[in-house]
C-alpha cells in the first residue's frame, strides 16, 4: 500500500492548549478512513493540518514522500491536491454553478469541458436541476451537497470531510455516503470525521481514534 501522508511528532498549540499531539501517523493512498473522537479531541484541527491550511506548531509532515516546508510554494501546490469540506460549508454568493466551478476557475480551467465537469458533479449529488439557483437560498442538506459537488469536481487526491453527514436528512446522508464510499475506487483518499464508530466498518475503511489530541487507536 502506498504511503501518502506521514506525520512525525506533530503538535498544534493554541496558546497553552494542545489541540493535536501526534507521535507518528501514516495514511495510505486510495483508502477511506474514519476519524472519530469526542468533541475537542482535535479532529477538525488534524483535518486542517492534513489540508495544509493549518501549519503545525512542531513536527514534520511528509506528503507522497515530500517533506512539507510550510514557508515554500510546496504548500500551495500540495493544497491543490487536497480538498477539505467543512461541516458547515461556506457557499460563495452567486449561483450553484459558480460555486461548483470555483475551484476549476481557480486552476485556470474554463470553457465547455469545465462546464460539463460541473454538470456531472452536480448530477452525482442529485442537484443537476439546481445549476442556476442562488446558492444562498438552499437548505442545509442542499448546501452540503453543493459543497460536495464543488469538491468532487476537482477530483482531488485527498478529500477531507468534516462531519459530512451531520445535520442532514437520512435520504441525503444515504446519497452522500454512497458517493463517499465510491471515491477510494477512483483513487481518492478519504478521511472523514464522524461520531458514528460503526461507519468505518460499513464503509470498509480504516479508522483513527483521537483522544485529547493524541492517536488513541489506529486501524490503518
Amino acid at each position: 500500500m502506498t504511503e501518502l501522508y506521514r506525520l512525525r511528532s506533530v503538535t498544534k498549540r493554541y496558546g497553552a492548549n494542545v489541540a493535536v499531539d501526534i507521535g507518528e501517523l501514516t495514511i495510505a493512498a486510495g483508502r477511506l478512513y474514519t476519524l472519530t473522537g469526542a468533541n475537542g479531541a482535535g479532529k477538525s484541527t488534524l483535518l486542517g493540518i492534513l489540508a495544509f491550511l493549518l501549519p503545525p506548531t512542531t513536527g514534520e509532515i511528509f506528503y507522497a514522500g515530500e517533506r512539507i516546508d510550510w514557508k515554500s510554494a510546496i504548500v500551495g501546490r500540495r493544497r491543490r491536491q487536497v480538498t477539505l469540506l467543512h461541516q458547515s460549508p461556506y457557499l460563495f454568493g452567486g449561483t450553484v454553478f459558480r460555486n461548483v466551478g470555483y475551484g476549476l476557475s481557480a486552476r485556470g480551467s474554463a470553457g465547455e469541458s469545465a462546464d460539463r465537469a460541473v454538470d456531472r458533479a452536480l448530477a452525482a449529488v442529485g442537484l443537476d436541476r439546481f445549476r442556476d439557483r442562488d446558492a444562498r437560498e438552499l437548505s442545509g442538506g442542499e448546501a452540503q451537497r453543493v459543497a460536495m459537488a464543488r469538491a468532487l469536481v476537482l477530483k482531488p487526491e485527498v478529500l477531507l470531510l468534516d462531519e459530512p453527514l451531520a445535520n442532514i436528512d437520512r435520504e441525503t446522508a444515504g446519497l452522500l455516503e454512497t458517493v463517499i464510499a465510491s471515491l477510494p475506487a477512483q483513487g481518492t483518499t478519504v478521511v472523514m470525521t464522524t461520531h458514528e464508530p460503526d461507519r468505518s466498518s460499513r464503509l470498509n475503511g480504516g479508522s483513527i481514534v483521537l483522544e485529547g489530541g493524541k492517536v488513541a487507536h489506529a486501524d490503518l
Binding site: 500551495g76 487536497v82 477539505l84 467543512h86 460563495f92 454568493g93 481557480a106
Partner: protein
C-alpha cells in the same frame, strides 16, 4: 422668518436657473471629491485588508492609529499639506498650491483612514470560512483575498462612499489648499462660507441645499449597502 423663507425661495431660483457660480462650485466639489475618493480607495482598501488579514506585532497600534487618523481635524490636514506644497515647502516647486490637485491630495489624506477603517471592519465581520474555503478549493493567496473582497463587497463599497461623504462635506482642506478661487477651486463648502460672510445668504443656501442633497444621496446609498 420672512428672511429665511425669501432666501430659501431665492436659493431654489438660483438652483433652477443653473446659476454658473452654483454649477461651477458643484462641479468642482464633485470632481475633487471623486478624485480624492478614488485615490483614498486605492490606498485605504489594501491597508484595511492588510491590517485585517495579517497578524503582526504592532497590529493593535496600527488599528488605533487608523482610528485616530479618522478624527484628525481637516484644518490640520490642510496645514500639513500646505507646508509641503507652499513655495518654501519641499514640494513647492510643483506649483500645486491653490489648485484642484492640492484639494485632491488633502482629501485623499482625509478619506484614506475612513476607507481603511471601514474596510477593516468589513474584514473583521466577514465569515471566517471564506478564506479557508477559497484556499482549499485551490485558490492562491491573491485569488483568495479577491474572493473575500467579492464576498464583502457591500462593506467595501460602503467604505468608499463614507470616504466620499467625508471629502465632499469638508471645508478646511478645500479652503487652505484650494484658496477658494472662483470658477477654479471654489467648492460648495468654501463658496457657502465666503458668500454667507459677504451677505449673499441665498447663494450660500442654494449651495447648502445641493450639498445636503448630495449628502442625503450618499447616506441613503450607504444605508442601503449596510443593510445588504
Amino acid at each position: 422668518m420672512d428672511f429665511l423663507v425669501s432666501s430659501f425661495a431665492a436659493a431654489l431660483r438660483l438652483i433652477g436657473s443653473l446659476s454658473p457660480d452654483v454649477v461651477d462650485a458643484v462641479r468642482t466639489s464633485l470632481s475633487v471629491s471623486a478624485g480624492a475618493t478614488l485615490f483614498a480607495a486605492l490606498f485605504g482598501i489594501p491597508v484595511g485588508l492588510a491590517v485585517g488579514l495579517s497578524d503582526f506585532r504592532l497590529k493593535g497600534f496600527a488599528v488605533t492609529a487608523l482610528n485616530t487618523l479618522m478624527a484628525v481635524p481637516t484644518v490640520v490636514v490642510g496645514l500639513l499639506v500646505y507646508g509641503f506644497l507652499s513655495r518654501q515647502g519641499p514640494l513647492g516647486a510643483l506649483g500645486l498650491l491653490f489648485s484642484p490637485t492640492a484639494i485632491v491630495i488633502g482629501g485623499t489624506l482625509l478619506a484614506s483612514p475612513i476607507v481603511a477603517n471601514y474596510t477593516l471592519a468589513s474584514v473583521r465581520g466577514a465569515d471566517a470560512r471564506i478564506l479557508p474555503t477559497a484556499l482549499t478549493l485551490g485558490a492562491g493567496p491573491f485569488r483568495a483575498v479577491t474572493t473575500l473582497v467579492g464576498e464583502i463587497r457591500f462593506g467595501v463599497f460602503a467604505a468608499v462612499i463614507a470616504g466620499f461623504g467625508r471629502v465632499v462635506a469638508e471645508v478646511g482642506v478645500a479652503m487652505m489648499l484650494g484658496g477658494n478661487i472662483r470658477g477654479y477651486t471654489r467648492t460648495m463648502t468654501t463658496a457657502i462660507a465666503l458668500e454667507t460672510s459677504k451677505g449673499e445668504f441665498s447663494f450660500g443656501m442654494a449651495l447648502g441645499i445641493v450639498l445636503m442633497t448630495v449628502a442625503l444621496i450618499v447616506n441613503l446609498f450607504l444605508s442601503l449597502l449596510q443593510r445588504r
